[in-house]
């Protein structure tokens, strides 16, 4: 065989072999990976919209998705807003649960962040920062309380305590929440929230 032909043949066949091998592997893992992703979302929805049994994706664009959580009867119990934005150093992705009228928050979950450990990373702290987000008034914009107050009762209904030493991260979370709420209201007003939403599972 001529050298050039051999080159072509060898590399092509390696490509073919690799392709088929990968296709198999890809095929075998595809579902599981999709499942993992979906489970992550689902768990987050269940966490931020208590009472959810099944959920549906109602809207999707980059950096913003809206899910609807339904209870056993199939009634909508709240929205789960999946949004992201830039934090102190890198992207923060979160999921916010609200009631059906978008007036009160249920809970907040941080799905992904690369903030400074021990500082900005406190936004994932369930016992402090995330706790302030439970059951807040979000009919207007939510604001930060600076400096933080020790007793949570002193906060206004639409206020969140700032993390001491991590104002930037706190503000980042706040602005992601506020702007996504704003967008979702806009979307609802324009009637773009899909009615025949796909089931998440």
């Amino acid at each position: 065989m001529k050298l050039s032909t051999r080159m072509v043949v060898v590399l092509t066949s390696i490509g073919l072999l690799s392709g088929s091998f990968l296709a198999t592997v890809g095929h075998l893992t595809k579902e599981r990976i999709a499942l993992n992703k979906q489970r992550e979302i689902e768990e987050a929805i269940i966490q931020v919209v208590p009472g959810t049994v099944s959920s549906q994706r109602l809207y999707e664009e980059r950096d913003l998705s809206v899910y609807g959580g339904k209870n056993e009867e199939g009634n909508l119990v709240g929205f789960a807003i999946h949004a992201s934005g830039i934090g102190f150093q890198d992207k923060i992705t979160l999921m916010l649960g609200t009631n059906t009228s978008l007036e009160r928050t249920n809970r907040l979950a941080i799905l992904d962040q690369k903030e400074t450990p021990g500082l900005g990373a406190k936004i994932t702290d369930r016992d402090s920062f995330l706790k302030y987000w439970e059951n807040r008034d979000c009919s207007g914009t939510i604001s930060l309380r600076k400096p933080a107050v020790s007793a949570a009762e002193k906060l206004l209904p639409s206020e969140i305590n700032t993390i001491t030493g991590a104002t930037i991260s706190s503000e980042a979370v706040l602005s992601i929440v506020n702007s996504s709420l704003e967008q979702v209201r806009e979307i609802i007003k324009e009637g773009k929230l899909s009615s025949e939403a796909q089931d998440v599972n």
């Binding site: 102190f88 400074t116 021990g118 500082l119 600076k146 400096p147 001491t164 030493g165 104002t167 930037i168």
Partner: protein, 324 residues
Amino acid sequence: MTNNTFILQSSPHFKDKDSVPKIMYAVIASLAPVVAASLYFFRFKALALLLSCIAACLVTEALFLWLRKKPLHSLRDGSAVITGILLAMTLPPSLSLELAIIGAVVATAIGKQVFGGLGYNIFNPALVGRAFLQTAFPVAMTTWIPPATLKIQTATFATPLGNLRFQDAIAEGTLTPLKDLFIGNVGGCLGETSAFVLILGGLFLLSRRVIDWRIPLGILLSLTAFTGAFWLANPEKYASPLFHILAGGLLIGAFFMATDMVTSPITPLGTWIYALGIGIVIGLIRLFGGFAEGVMYSILFMNAFVPLLNRYTRPRILGERSKG
């Protein structure tokens, strides 16, 4: 006729009396009012931090000299003491001594000795130590206590710049008055609170020609221009250049730290670029960055450019035709 034995050396045979230790001790002398002010405002805490930083710097330096089998007399050149003093002067008064010592060790070891010791380091050692601490212990390094002279009891206390950046001080009308900034009756790092003593020390260094006047001048000019532009455009949102000059570590940085000869350019043009660059970066960080204060970062950032600046700003040799 004569039994004199003579010295053999290359010309010149006259030499100026100034020497490295003399320069270093002049800097230490100029820091005396700054140290005194820090002792006055922060009392015992300042003394403890100061002494432990100096001691840790000297011990680390001695250790390296011993490891590298170098004569110990260079401990006496005063540069390690300056590093210790300046590091201490840039620490928050509430910092624990262990952390301060870690900072001093890092300053001397990573900031200076790994490069070969005095004269060879690229980055300002004291600031390397401080930056290390700030990144390693961000909470401890941004927790402030009020000066002893204020006689107030609060758990958290903001520095004038923190107040400006994170507490919306202008909108709330709680911006620190310039007079307090000038005298030093404010929170902040040990040595940065009183603008008055810093200017005193700086003028002393300028008059002794120890530091290059271009550096403080360049920093002040570019910072004034930068912050001034925003202030003029929107005084409701941005503080005045004078506030920016008097608040925070600007003066100690401009007079004592950016001027460190080892880590600043040797050519006049390079020095200008370096100084103007520092001012601009400080402005950027203070106005738009994630930190209230940017002096440390901007000096370190521009330190990194110094070799490049030295290389590309070589003065034109007398009689050299300009290229092109």
